[in-house]
């Protein structure tokens, strides 16, 4: 065993961004470089951690050596490693993009506003990453609450970064929603502690029994997470908050931040409350997902602004994640449904980040993001339109993209358990996604004689969008490893919830 194999890598994915948050605040000129180096360093530590978990199974680490119940424990299993990996990849791409986005001084009249955004983007983004990684590594439900709040504060501040009227109002609404969601979650934590005198996830998992206390805790926590995760019909705050933020922030909020709430819901549902949840509750969440897919896609089709279209597409895609709850009801298809939904999270994160970055480039070049006026944009920005199209392929679920594999596994789970309703819904959602992606490309590919004078888009910004969209498409070709990693500590292999 070398030092590399035994080092506590999981701690570095929190410590590095946390220190960088302070450093980027102190050394503003060097902030983009500090940010990029930190995200690279954090990615290395996640890769090393992935190696450890693959070889030795789930890990546990006591911060400061205190241990339960006094100290805070961190733990990493297949699911947390995949989530950390997702945030690491997105983090590098977004940091590279942002290093140019905030320093591009094309618009000299907005110079002061831009300097202000640059000064605060980096510290807030680093704190966001620290909160996110801490959340994915949390081993107890109170730690989950604290990291959820850290994440929420950074996310709200980033959403308000543009400082304009609409952005500030959207951020205020986001904050109110986020805080009330966290308080619901905290109330659930308090009830669980009252009933079982522990907050440790593993210890609780063996103790939670069906009863009024467990039901009320589950209801409160699920309600809080559904509103923070923007699950239909509690999604009302998401489109304005995501669409009014600066481009890198929109990408982070849509790709990573909403997934954090879903991750917690997944942990609670399949680990903590596996004996408490009922098929009816699972179907209810599935129905919310169905509503999200149909309503979100319909709204995306109706938008006249590109950023809003992408934001509503997030609402729709989050609906797919909810389908894991009904589909994992059947013992035979539980593992397929579970893997499908995690894969969906990864594929959507890459595709949605790429899409938001591409849309940012288009809006930057054209000076607006009105879909109907984007004729001929392909001639000016071939790379960004290609990135948009490739990301769209993954969102629609065409082979060989990551979205295709995820939807394929979801369909497999639905069909093998005879759930034809869910299978139809998955296909209908794909058709709707195809419709709204095509609508944009229709305008983008229209040839016009003379392209209007466009702002220059830095090449780094175009390439980081394209790289992520390629990754989203290629994810389908390398599905085996992540799916195998997922089995490390997967809670569904032995039994399905509601059937024990």
């Amino acid at each position: 065993m070398t030092l590399w194999d035994t080092a506590p890598w999981l701690i570095w994915s929190i410590v590095l961004p946390l220190s960088a948050g302070i450093l980027t605040f102190l050394f503003r000129r060097a902030a983009p470089w500090i940010g990029i180096i930190t995200t690279l360093g954090s990615a290395v530590s996640v890769a090393a951690l992935a190696g450890q978990v693959t070889h030795a199974g789930p890990l546990r680490y006591s911060v400061g050596g205190w241990g339960v119940p006094l100290g805070v424990d961190l733990r990493a299993d297949g699911l947390s490693v995949l989530m950390l990996g997702m945030s690491a990849v997105i983090a590098v791409a977004v940091s590279v993009y942002a290093s140019r986005y905030f320093s591009d001084s094309d618009a000299t009249d907005k110079h002061t506003a831009q300097a202000h955004q640059r000064a605060y983007f980096w510290p807030l983004w680093m704190f966001l990453l620290a909160g996110l990684n801490g959340l994915f590594l949390a081993a107890d439900i109170f730690h989950l609450y604290v990291t959820l709040e850290l994440l929420g504060f950074a996310a709200v501040s980033l959403a308000a970064l543009a400082g304009k009227r609409a952005a500030v109002a959207a951020a205020m609404r986001y904050l109110l929603v986020s805080l009330s969601g966290s308080l619901f979650f905290l109330f659930g934590v308090a009830i669980l502690y009252a009933a079982y005198a522990t907050v440790d996830l593993t210890a609780l998992a063996g103790k939670v029994q069906p009863g009024p206390l467990a039901w009320s805790a589950l209801a409160l926590m699920a309600a809080g997470l559904l509103i923070k995760g923007a699950v239909f019909p509690l999604h009302f705050w998401l489109p304005p908050a995501h669409a009014n933020a600066p481009t890198p922030v929109s990408a982070l909020l849509s790709a990573l931040v909403v997934k954090a709430s879903f991750y917690i819901l997944l942990r609670l549902w399949f680990e903590l409350f596996s004996t408490v949840v009922t098929p009816a509750a699972a179907s209810f969440l599935g129905l919310l997902g169905a509503g999200a897919i149909l309503w979100g896609s319909a709204q995306a089709l109706n938008q006249t602004r590109l950023k809003l279209l992408v934001a509503y597409s997030t609402v729709a895609q989050l609906g797919y994640l909810m389908l894991v709850f009904p589909l994992a009801q059947h013992v035979g298809s539980a593992l397929t449904a579970w893997s499908a939904c995690i894969y969906f999270v990864l594929a959507h994160a890459c595709a949605k980040t790429a899409m938001f970055l591409a849309v940012g480039n288009i809006a930057h070049a054209a000076g607006h993001d009105r879909i109907a006026e984007l004729d001929g944009i392909t001639q000016a920005l071939p790379l960004s339109v290609a990135a948009f199209a490739l990301a769209g392929i993954s969102l629609i679920g065409l082979p060989p993209s990551g979205g295709f594999i995820a939807k394929w596994m979801l369909l497999q789970a639905a069909i093998s358990s005879g759930e034809w309703g869910w299978a139809t819904l998955i296909l209908a959602g794909s058709l709707l996604a195809a419709a709204y992606v095509m609508r944009v490309l229709w305008h983008a590919f229209t040839q016009v004689a003379v392209a209007r004078p466009l702002h220059r888009v830095p090449r780094t910004m175009e390439w980081s969008a394209l790289a992520l969209s390629l990754l989203a498409v290629l994810l389908g070709l390398m599905a085996a490893r992540p799916v195998e990693l997922l089995r490390s500590g997967a809670p569904v292999s032995i039994h399905a919830p509601g059937q024990t």
Binding site: F153, V168, M172
Partner: protein, 105 residues
């Protein structure tokens, strides 16, 4: 069945949470919404403090530690919310959120 004192406080905590939630949804003024969130938070804290007193004679320190952490979080949240609310007022001239979503050009 007698109502134990700690249970009374715990139920009061639930009541505060409900009152706060009602105000958060029903009141339009941002300051009232922020106060409502604080009342909800206080409800949860009261609940936690109450259950700490189940174990006589010494109180359970873990919920108390949680409340301390919760207070720190709640102070930060209130600070951020007040700063944003002030910003909403300076940009829109009103201490309320607009009825319909707006989008900057």
């Amino acid at each position: 069945m007698t109502l134990e004192p700690y249970l009374l406080y715990a139920l009061a905590g639930v009541g505060l949470f409900a009152i706060g939630l009602e105000a958060l949804i029903a009141r339009a003024h941002l300051l009232r919404k922020i106060l409502a969130l604080n009342v909800m938070g206080t409800g949860v804290f009261l609940f936690l403090i109450a259950i700490a007193y189940r174990s006589e004679p010494l109180a359970d320190p873990v919920p108390q530690a949680m409340v301390l952490t919760g207070i720190v979080v709640s102070v930060c949240a209130t600070g951020l919310a007040l700063a944003l609310a002030h910003r909403v007022q300076t940009t829109t001239g009103r201490m309320e959120l607009p009825e319909n979503d707006e989008f900057d050009a």
